[in-house]
Structures are given as structure tokens and as C-alpha cells.
């Protein structure tokens, strides 16, 4: 078994990723709290607990905006995929920074009072009917609860425990958390201070995320609508021409039902598998065959070309499809085979092989 197979818990990429992330957080907080008051007499007049809650609150919003941009960025340009690899650490750090913000808020605005902290948080402001004065803190609480749940369930244990569809559904609530934060900031700090930079971060960030998601979404729907042409023989579909597939890579077709199918070419053979990774629905067809395994570009889960199964001890499986060559045209039967069906790669006839086959990618 390839040593490269296992997406190990800790590796150099993750260490660099986390190092850069922590450096970014430290730089932000240090500049805000140490340099800011030196440069700005106004900030110096603001008391320290308030400076801290602003520093951590704005940082949490900035981080949440970045983490939500990574997904669509990676869909738009695959070179951003390495940012996805360790995105969960980014998310967990965001939750920690947000909790720090809440900690300072509770320790200042909701402390020293005859009313216990948490009671105070939920009862001291009940202006639910007005916009100016609405208890905007509650949106923060709601978002923080979501972020905490996501951070706690971010580990792959929960992914397999909850099953990927449920896990995915739960983790989509990060958008709910984001919407809630935008309300939190708009009804709180923005209404209060009309701070231009904060307005830009929240409303500009919101616009940017909408644009990125729309762009990525349009690409997806465009390729969904470009369902593959029907082959002369029902129900087979034409996925493309053999010459379009580089060694170790795939081309992607779509069945009439919209299911996407990736056809990989490796060592003179063709194998068709589902384009949807069983880990987190990553686009397998944008991956590569590495050391004989189809490798998902997002987190590197690997599958055997012949049966779509991860090598033991892993148990992930993706569906296989029947594939054929008609001349140099690649056609696929869009009826998926039962999970785990073994189907040897279709040999590419010698006359269609390039004179010097390109070397397969290395890990």
C-alpha cells in the first residue's frame, strides 16, 4: 500500500498552513491592540476591554469571510485547492477567535452586575420591536453556537459517524452563521458608529462572497446543462474524445439525470467513476491517478480505478460505470453499477496510444 495514501493527521502542508494562519491572527491582533492605540488617539481613549472585543470581533468576521471564499475560489481556479485541504483548521480558529470576542464582551458589558452574566445577556435588552436598539448580541450568540457545533464536528470521525450527507447538511449552516453575523454587525456596531472600514468589511465582504458563489455556481450549472450527447446506442452517452484525456487525468461527462461521471486514463486503460467524492463531495474528475489510485483533489482520498474502493483499511467507495471506446470516442453507460463492482479498465488500442506515454504523476 502506498505510504502516500493516508491523509495523515499532521504533515508539512498542514504545519505551514497552520503556521501562516496563526501568524496572520497574531499580526492582526498585535497591530490592532499595540500599534492602533499608538497611531490613533481616538482608539487610545477607548477602554482596553472594548478595544479587545473590537479586535477579536472584526478578526472573526474577516476570517469567516475568507473561509467562505475558499470554496468558490477553488471551484473557479483549481490552484486554490490547497487552501481547501486544511480548511477545517481555518474554521476552528475562526470559532476560537469569535469565542474570544464573546468572552471579552461578557466580561465587560455583561459583568459586575447584580444580574448573572448569561441571564443579563438574554434579558437586559428586550427592544425586539425596534431596529435601532435591537438586541443584536443575540445574532452573535446564535452564530457562535453554530460555529462551535461546526468546530466540534469538524473532525473526520464525525463525518463518518454522522454520514457525509448529514454532515454536509449540518456544515451548510455556516452560511446561516454568516448571515447572522452580518445582522449582528449591521444592527450593532454599524448602526452605532457608522464605521466605514467595518462597513466595508461586512457589506463589501458580503458582496464579494455573493459574487464568488454566483460565479462558481454558474460554472456548475453551465456544465450541468451541457449534458453529454447521446451515443447512437441507448442509454450510452458520449463523454469526449480520447485525445482530450491526459495520462493520469480525467474528462467529465454528465448523465441525462445530471449525475457527473469522470473517465480516467491511466497506463493505457480507461475507467469511469462517479465524479463525486464520498468524503466531502469533492470533484474527483479534477483529480489525478497517483501511484495507481484515483486521487481526489480536495483532501486526497484515493480509490482503485477497477472497483472504486479505497484500499484497506479504508472503506470509502464510489460508483463505477461501464465505459467503451468507439473509435477514439469515449462513451459511458450512465447506469451506475452497484457499489464495489469490479470492472477492469478498458484497454486503449495500441494505435491510439501516444508514441511515448507521458510519465504518471508522482506523489
Amino acid at each position: 500500500m502506498s505510504v502516500s495514501y493516508k491523509p495523515v493527521i499532521w504533515n508539512r502542508s498542514k504545519m505551514i498552513y497552520d503556521g501562516v494562519l496563526l501568524a496572520g491572527i497574531a499580526i492582526y491582533i498585535l497591530i490592532f491592540l499595540k500599534v492602533g492605540p499608538v497611531l490613533s488617539p481616538a482608539l487610545r481613549d477607548v477602554d482596553l476591554p472594548t478595544q479587545r472585543m473590537r479586535a477579536f470581533g472584526s478578526l472573526a468576521l474577516l476570517m469567516l469571510t475568507i473561509v467562505l471564499a475558499i470554496g468558490p475560489l477553488a471551484r473557479i481556479d483549481t490552484r486554490f485547492i490547497p487552501l481547501l485541504y486544511n480548511r477545517r483548521h481555518f474554521g476552528v480558529m475562526t470559532a476560537i477567535v469569535a469565542a474570544t470576542h464573546a468572552y471579552y464582551v461578557l466580561g465587560w458589558y455583561f459583568s459586575y452586575s447584580p444580574t448573572p452574566q448569561l441571564t443579563a445577556l438574554f434579558t437586559s435588552n428586550t427592544s425586539f420591536t425596534s431596529v435601532a436598539g435591537f438586541p443584536f448580541e443575540l445574532f452573535g450568540v446564535f452564530a457562535l453556537i453554530i460555529l462551535a457545533v461546526l468546530a466540534v464536528t469538524s473532525h473526520d470521525f464525525w463525518l463518518s459517524f454522522l454520514t457525509p450527507p448529514l454532515w454536509k447538511a449540518i456544515h451548510m449552516s455556516v452560511y446561516l452563521a454568516y448571515a447572522s453575523i452580518i445582522l449582528h454587525v449591521a444592527l450593532g456596531a454599524l448602526l452605532d458608529r457608522r464605521d466605514l472600514a467595518l462597513g466595508f468589511l461586512s457589506l463589501g465582504g458580503l458582496t464579494l462572497l455573493c459574487v464568488l458563489h454566483l460565479m462558481a455556481g454558474r460554472r456548475e450549472t453551465a456544465s450541468d446543462h451541457a449534458a453529454s450527447a447521446k451515443a447512437p446506442e441507448e442509454p450510452w452517452i458520449v463523454v469526449g474524445d480520447l485525445s482530450e484525456i491526459a495520462e493520469g487525468r480525467a474528462i467529465i461527462g454528465a448523465s441525462p439525470g445530471g449525475e457527473r461521471i469522470a473517465v480516467f486514463r491511466s497506463k493505457g486503460g480507461l475507467s469511469a467513476v462517479s465524479n463525486v467524492c464520498s468524503h466531502q463531495n469533492g470533484p474527483i474528475g479534477e483529480g489525478k491517478v497517483v501511484l495507481g489510485f484515483i486521487t481526489c483533489p480536495w483532501h486526497g482520498y484515493q480509490y482503485r480505478p477497477e472497483d472504486g474502493c479505497s484500499p484497506p483499511p479504508f472503506r470509502e467507495r464510489i460508483r463505477k460505470y461501464r465505459v467503451r471506446l468507439q473509435g477514439s470516442t469515449v462513451v459511458v453507460d450512465p447506469q451506475p453499477l452497484p457499489l464495489g463492482t469490479k470492472l477492469d479498465p478498458v484497454a486503449i488500442p495500441a494505435e491510439l496510444l501516444p508514441p511515448t506515454p507521458k510519465k504518471e504523476g508522482t506523489a
Binding site: Y28, D45, R79, A246, C296, A363
Partner: protein, 256 residues
């Protein structure tokens, strides 16, 4: 026949990083770090000053002696001494606590009070510490002159903001505004005297102690109106150097 310029394929656990991925990632790291630094500068500098309110230790451990009044909130009437005219000083405790409980038994009596002031413009509030800082003056026999009766300054309609007198005075900075609303409500519920910060002065004052129309504590309904601009109507009453805004309604005619 192969696609031109194939892009590097990289998954985090690979040992080698393709050059194009490496280039983009180094670029991204630089962008990320520089972006965090500039965002921090922009967001930290975009701040309004909360103004000049602050603590002032004027008593240096000494005490003030005056007559305790408890309505609408604890106020100490300190008689004039020498060149200094008589004062009516609002009182609060430490944290978000008022001093009603401790002041009540002394109502109408001579009290001896110590602590630290918060001051902002014409707003001043004495924050009383523990135990000995608030007690009956010894001996009671020292006859204090009767505080001068309060004087009515007539009906007013004022635009401004309700805040708690302690944070508004500079105990928190900022101690006013919407972000501070919940905190202000906690203070007011805890017994810290609420004040009205007017946008236009009345007889040189922009801060007023708030009370209900009949001179009791601020109506609880007004807790929904703290921290935001509001127009209130009522009568203003003067006690020494303190103006009291006795609110009886909103500008739109609704009663408070």
C-alpha cells in the same frame, strides 16, 4: 494531443509541491499576511473618540457630608462652603450597582460619603466603595442647613440619548451608544442613576438626571429607548447644581 501546460496536481500530504502551485501559494501567503496587517490598521484606526469622561479622585480618601435624598435616585445635597456653592451629587456603587439599599435608611438624614468621581462635562457622579464609604454622619447633631427647595424650570422637549450616568460619565469608554445599550440597561436596572444627554443645553447643562413625571425613578418603559436618539417631553427641576428631567411623554404624544 495532450492538453497544453498541464497544471500541477497537489494534495496536502504530497511531499513535492508542483512549481505553479508553489508560486500561487507563496503569493497567497504574502497576500494573506499583508492583508491581515492592512485590515488590522484600517479597522483599528477607524474609531471615534469616546470623549473626555474619566475617573477623578477628588476626595483623596476624605468624606463629603450632606443631606441624603433618595428620590428619584440617591443624591447627596452638600451645603455651600466658603466660595463653593451647594451641590447635589448623584451616587452610585461599584460595578453596575446603585446604592439605594444603603441610602434608603439615611433618607433625609445627614450622611457621610466617600469614593471616586466620574466626570464628564457637567455630569458628575460619586461612586461609593464598600462599608465605611456611606454611613450616617457622626455626630448627627451637627445641624446641616436645610437643602434649598427645588426650583422648576418649566416644560421642555429635549432631543438626546438615555444612558446610565456612570458609564456615560466615563466609567466605560465608550459608555453611550447602541453597542452599549444592553450594558446601560443592566446598570440602570442595578440602580445606577440614568441620565439624559441632550443635544442642546438647558441653562448650560447637557446632562440631566432622569425621573418619572411624579419624581420617582425613571419609568421602566424607557429601558427600551436607551442608547438611541430620542425626543422626550417633561418638566425640568433644579436642585442646586443638578437638573432633573421629569419625563412625562414622548414627543409624539405617547405617555411614558
Amino acid at each position: 494531443m495532450l492538453k497544453p501546460a498541464e497544471r500541477g496536481f497537489f494534495v496536502g500530504y504530497f511531499k513535492k509541491v508542483p512549481t505553479d502551485v508553489r508560486a500561487l501559494m507563496i503569493g497567497f501567503i504574502v497576500f494573506f499576511v499583508a492583508g491581515m496587517a492592512s485590515a488590522s490598521v484600517l479597522l483599528s484606526l477607524n474609531t471615534d473618540s469616546p470623549g473626555a469622561g474619566s475617573y477623578a479622585d477628588e476626595l483623596h480618601g476624605e468624606h463629603l457630608i450632606g443631606t441624603m435624598e433618595t428620590s428619584p435616585y440617591p443624591v447627596l445635597r452638600v451645603p455651600a462652603t466658603g466660595s463653593r456653592p451647594a451641590r447635589a451629587i448623584m451616587l452610585a456603587g461599584s460595578g453596575k450597582f446603585g446604592v439605594d439599599d444603603r441610602a434608603l435608611p439615611l433618607a433625609g438624614k445627614a450622611a457621610q460619603v466617600g469614593g471616586v468621581f466620574v466626570k464628564r462635562g457637567d455630569l458628575e457622579m460619586l461612586l461609593i466603595g464598600g462599608g465605611d464609604d456611606l454611613k450616617a454622619a457622626e455626630p448627627q447633631a451637627v445641624a446641616l442647613p436645610n437643602p434649598s427647595p427645588s426650583e422648576s424650570l418649566g416644560r421642555w422637549r429635549l432631543t438626546g440619548e438615555i444612558c446610565d450616568g456612570k458609564c456615560g460619565g466615563g466609567a466605560m469608554k465608550p459608555g453611550t451608544g447602541l453597542a452599549h445599550k444592553a450594558c446601560a440597561n443592566l446598570c440602570i436596572n442595578g440602580g445606577v442613576p440614568p441620565v439624559f444627554v441632550s443635544t442642546a443645553p438647558v441653562e448650560g447643562h447637557i446632562f440631566f438626571l432622569l425621573s418619572s413625571a411624579n419624581g420617582g425613578p425613571m419609568p421602566a418603559r424607557l429601558l427600551d429607548k436607551t442608547g438611541a436618539p430620542i425626543v422626550l417631553e417633561g418638566t425640568i427641576e433644579r436642585r442646586d447644581d443638578l437638573l432633573i428631567f421629569k419625563v412625562d411623554g414622548f414627543a409624539d404624544g405617547a405617555g411614558a
